[in-house]
């Protein structure tokens, strides 16, 4: 019953399986991104207050949602690597960090671009924006800590501990920033789109969120595959693979 779990720890098996998954998932992700983007950017109705500028929501919201989920993927992979000493989980954790950081950056950037026409300024110290910025720092901390260790085994463990500490802290940070903001909140700025969104606008958004989750998975798997090859450069299965090409 547990054989799949043990197989998960085997690099050649993981490399083969991830290749098969990617062969299906990658075209599917691209198709979803194209359909979602065209649907959202061209066919979804215009927002009566914000005009066409609201359409950046179709990139901004999915990137933000998946960036946050990515941190949990990273931290849970870190926990698995610490508890069951599973190498593959450590690889997943290490590879999830740059993908998550990139999505967080995309979320901040698209938010700033959206902010200019909507709020008249690129940057507002709004609770959500500030939380995303802190999330970006948390990702950078994990990446920097991994880079700083020369002993990569220790690097993996240290990053796992750090990402777990971060996971405990994320709800506290989010709540405290929320609270800090609520004191200063100017009543003019409100995120009302999400709750009151019409289904013709919401359906493409849902598709884009799903597409971004798949995109995260694809990027994670691709990243993991190259990491597996790098780590196993001197093993027989990688040599056999290189010889076959």
């Amino acid at each position: 019953m547990w054989t799949w779990f043990h197989k998960l720890g085997s690099p050649p098996w993981m490399y083969r399986i991830s290749g098969r998954i990617l062969a299906i998932l990658l075209p599917l992700t691209i198709a979803m991104l194209v359909v979602g983007a065209v649907w959202g950017l061209l066919y979804a109705p215009m927002d009566f207050k914000q005009g066409n500028s609201f359409r950046i929501i179709y990139f901004h919201v999915p990137a933000s949602v998946v960036a946050l989920a990515g941190y949990y993927v990273m931290a849970i992979a870190g926990a698995v690597s610490l508890i069951w000493r599973m190498k593959m989980a450590e690889v997943a954790m290490k590879c999830a960090a740059p993908v998550g950081a990139a999505l967080t950056f995309l979320s901040l950037l698209s938010g700033a671009i959206w902010g200019k026409p909507t709020w008249g300024t690129y940057w507002v110290w709004d609770a959500r924006i500030t939380s995303m910025l802190i999330l970006f720092f948390l990702y950078l901390g994990v990446i920097a800590l991994y880079q700083a260790y020369e002993n990569k085994e220790a690097a993996g463990k240290a990053c796992a501990v750090l990402s777990l500490v971060g996971m405990v802290n994320i709800p506290i940070i989010y709540k405290s920033v929320d609270w800090w903001y609520s004191l200063h909140q100017p009543a003019t700025i409100k995120f009302t789109e999400e709750s009151t969104m019409h289904s013709s606008m919401f359906q493409p958004l849902l598709l884009m969120i799903l597409a971004f989750y798949c995109l995260f998975t694809c990027a994670l798997l691709l990243n993991m595959r190259s990491e597996l090859l790098r780590r196993g450069a001197s093993t027989s299965w990688v040599r056999a693979l290189a010889g076959a090409r």
Binding site: L145, Y149, A158, S176, W179
Partner: protein
């Protein structure tokens, strides 16, 4: 006498005494954060102008940001000496619980950095024209807040002690985790200065301290093990 004969209480007492004795013999480590605090507090009126009402408005934020930076500075060297002379390795080999041992490190660190900062904070606050009525709340927030900073800072210090250039890295790791303390503690002082009831923020700080005391030692001991193994 074998190590297992030593009771946990005696071990903790001896460990704390050793930390404090080491700190006593190196007073520079205790005085530097305080001097840093004084220096930066001096910089603010020079930078933003000496207007008392303006200073009083910014004082809660300034005091807490400087306390945060001073604590960050002090955290970096926390395990350094014991890592380099091998005492840390001996501690890991000993049969005593590492969870409690890491608490004594943090407690000693707080006694020589957080506590003096708390006791001297009314002086710095007066320099920045903080209303006298807010001083007790400032001290209370410093008492609770610097203890949390010490605990969280120890996690960063434990994870980076084996690295040669840990200085910048520890800031990147720890500062995001310090943010809730800054928000609640500076908020409490601001409330007190403005004549509101700061109790909710102080209670939240106390809650965070309880959580940190319970959980941080796990992360600190895991970090120490990783660092000693890596070295």
């Amino acid at each position: 006498m074998s190590a297992s004969d030593v009771s946990v209480g005696a071990f903790l007492g001896a460990s704390l005494k050793r930390q404090l004795l080491l700190a006593y013999r190196r007073p520079v480590d205790t005085i530097n954060p305080l001097l840093f605090f004084l220096l930066v507090v001096t910089l603010f009126p020079l930078g933003i102008g000496p207007d008392p009402s303006q200073l009083a408005e910014f004082a809660p934020g300034i005091l807490w940001i400087v306390a945060l930076l001073a604590s960050l500075m002090a955290a970096e060297g926390m395990f350094r000496q014991d890592y380099e002379d091998g005492s840390l390795e001996q501690l890991l080999l000993s049969p005593q619980p590492l969870y409690l041992a890491s608490l004594t490190y943090t407690a000693a660190h707080w006694l020589v950095t957080g506590l003096p900062l708390t006791l001297l904070s009314p002086l710095f606050a007066t320099m920045l024209q903080l209303p006298v009525a807010a001083l007790p709340v400032l001290m209370m927030s410093m008492l609770l807040g610097t203890a949390i900073l010490s605990l969280v800072g120890s996690i960063g210090a434990a994870l980076t002690v084996s690295l040669k250039r840990g200085g910048m890295l520890i800031s990147l790791i720890i500062v995001p985790l310090y943010i809730p303390v800054l928000i609640f503690a500076a908020g409490a002082v601001r409330f007190a200065a403005g004549g509101f009831d700061p109790q909710p923020q102080l209670l939240l700080l106390a809650g965070m301290l309880s959580l940190a005391v319970a959980l941080a030692p796990f992360a600190i001991s895991a970090g120490l093990r990783i660092s000693v193994d890596a070295g």
